[in-house]
């Protein structure tokens, strides 16, 4: 009787385990499905919200007109898009070489002790909130650009400009690219480095010709992640970019980026349906660009992997 009871308990326990297993698995499935269609949902909402402006203005006007005047109902996004591209592009041009060289230093050249010290510093830099970046850029870079750098090139500038914004973004991107690249570089088998070194290549030749090649996919995705961060950065850029939706005439001219524009105008324009819709269109453009770059990155990655069968 007792034994029977025991086995019954055991069986019931088994069933309970199985049921719990089933419930948890299905729950996870549901969550996963919701999250993975989230980006689609965001796309739909942005699209439906911007349908108002898309109905009344042609999409080419919105994208390629330079006339930005919300109070008259003119929403030409061209200067803002150009501003976004230049600010992001310039920041990456600054950030990529510096980050890659730093990553190589940390992963390949620095002695272990220094490497250990450097890691937490990078983590701290990665953790600095963007609003603090903006504040520091305003305090440090803006006067520097206004009083020294811009006059050096013979240009008068308030310091709130494209150049300042790009530098700020570059610093924000450093820790992202560096830590991902360090990870990639250190995951290379030691023997591969040895193979290159033992035919008499110098360390730098090994880095240049073997390590960069072997980690190309990871470097690409690190750069893309950095791009994503820079492209979408809102607050820090908003604080130093100048906020004037004009195609910049020089490095030291003020301009505006898409996210920064949304942040500064949404509050005041959200009560006017057409303006709100126009800003939603801006968000939609932002979203689509991010999407395209992600897919592009994926294709690049696939190709690189296939090419060297990594």
């Amino acid at each position: 009787m007792l034994i029977k009871n025991g086995s019954f308990d055991k069986k019931w326990l088994m069933d309970k385990r199985k049921i719990r297993d089933l419930i948890c698995t299905k729950l996870m499935l549901i969550i996963t499905i919701i999250v993975s269609i989230l980006f689609f949902l965001i796309f739909l909402i942005l699209l439906s919200k911007s349908s108002l402006i898309l109905g009344s203005e042609s999409i080419t006007d919105l994208l390629f007109s330079s006339n930005w005047n919300p109070s008259n109902g003119n929403f030409g996004y061209f200067p803002v898009i150009v501003g976004t591209i230049i600010v992001t592009g310039l920041s990456l041009i600054i950030a990529i070489p510096i980050s890659l060289l730093s990553a190589i230093f940390i992963a390949e050249y620095a002695p272990r002790k220094i490497r250990k010290i450097l890691r937490p510093f990078l983590d701290v830099l990665a953790g600095v909130p963007s609003v603090v970046f903006g504040l520091c850029a305003f305090l440090f870079l803006v006067p520097l650009v206004r009083d020294f750098i811009a006059p050096f090139f013979g240009i008068e500038s308030t310091g709130l400009c494209l150049f300042t914004a790009s530098i700020t973004l570059a610093v924000m991107v450093f820790p992202i690219i560096i830590s991902l690249c360090v990870e990639a570089f250190s995951s290379i088998p030691l023997e591969l480095k040895e193979a290159s070194l033992s035919v008499g290549a110098t360390k730098w030749e090994t880095v240049k010709k073997v390590i960069f090649r072997a980690t190309a996919p990871s470097i690409i995705s690190a750069i893309l992640l950095g791009f994503g961060r820079a492209f979408g950065e809102t607050i820090a850029v908003n604080m130093v970019v100048g906020g004037i939706p004009k195609v910049p005439s020089s490095l030291f001219a003020p301009t505006e980026t898409l996210p920064s524009l949304i942040a500064s105008k949404y509050g005041e324009l959200m009560s006017i349906p057409k303006s709100e819709s126009a800003l939603m269109f801006g968000a939609l453009v932002l979203f689509i660009v991010v999407l395209i770059f992600n897919l592009l990155g994926l294709i690049l990655l696939r190709n690189a992997k296939k090419r060297w069968k990594l």
């Binding site: 002695p111 272990r112 088998p189 030691l190 023997e191 591969l192 480095k193 040895e194 193979a195 290159s196 070194l197 033992s198 035919v199 008499g200 290549a201 110098t202 360390k203 030749e205 010709k209 073997v210 090649r213 072997a214 090419r307 060297w308 069968k309 990594l310």
Partner: protein, 255 residues
């Protein structure tokens, strides 16, 4: 003074330590030129460490301390101020598992040549082809020279690595259990190649299979927990081991 063959390695009081843990203790050996020397001993006794100290590859790891002298053709390669890449060029390496560089088959071999010489593409092509032929892989890959090297079989990859190593015209070939990851047929091919190559290069072979050492070695070094127990010409060590530990190892009592 008689003219020495090039590619002779000699160590004097060589000690290698990782932190406090010493892997190689006071090793004094002489590896004869243009012969096949086998370093044998149980696993974990420092064979690979000893081998990799010969081309100063240990330095890329942290906290390795090396003291003593390693003389290659009479020059101490541990001296500071030397150009390390020149030393490594003299000492080709064949590692345990083949590690083809992430490039095409052709580029793998051309890699080292390009680094050291500026020659036109015609000559480069000839040199690469010669190396591939010498490594006995030419016939299998002649029409896919520009495919990724990682697509080859393991055995082919290992022979490619051999071609890559001899492409820079080293004096010594350091082989770190080059057949342990391979199937028997590929292993045999590598062994045959090594026997052929010892006419032109000094070959140092680390192996943990005694039978392989017996098949190919001219000279044997028996290493046991970082110390050289016995070394000498192969037939002497194998047939007439002096030290009881060597005897035990030969008879399979320790492995």
């Amino acid at each position: 003074m008689s003219k020495k063959l090039i590619g002779e390695i000699e160590t004097q009081n060589l000690n290698i330590c990782y932190g406090k843990h010493c892997i190689i203790k006071n090793v004094n050996i002489k590896i004869p030129a243009r012969q096949l020397t086998a370093i044998i001993g149980p696993s974990g006794c420092g064979k690979t460490t000893l081998l990799k100290s010969f081309n100063r590859l240990l330095e890329i790891r942290d906290d390795v301390k090396i003291s003593g002298k390693i003389l290659v053709d009479g020059n101490n390669i541990l001296r500071s101020g030397l150009n390390v890449s020149d030393i490594r060029k003299k000492m080709g390496l064949l590692s345990q598992k083949p590690y083809p560089l992430p490039m095409s088959i052709y580029e793998n071999v051309a890699y080292g040549i390009r680094i050291h010489n500026h020659i036109d593409s015609k000559k480069l092509e000839n040199a690469v082809n010669n190396c591939l032929q010498e490594a006995g892989i030419w016939n299998e890959i002649r029409d896919r020279l520009h495919d990724p090297a990682s697509g080859l079989s393991l055995g082919q990859q290992q022979r490619l690595c051999l071609a890559r190593a001899i492409a820079v015209q080293p004096e010594v070939l350091l082989c770190d259990e080059p057949t342990s990851a391979l199937d028997p047929i590929s292993a045999q091919q590598i062994e045959k190649l090594l026997l052929k190559l010892k006419k032109e290069y000094t070959v140092v072979l680390v192996t943990h299979t005694l039978r392989q050492a017996k098949r190919v070695a001219d000279y044997v070094i028996f290493l046991y927990f970082g110390e050289v127990i016995e070394h000498g010409p192969a037939d002497k060590v194998f047939n007439n081991p002096k030290h009881p530990r060597t005897k035990a190892y030969m008879q399979g009592e320790i492995s």
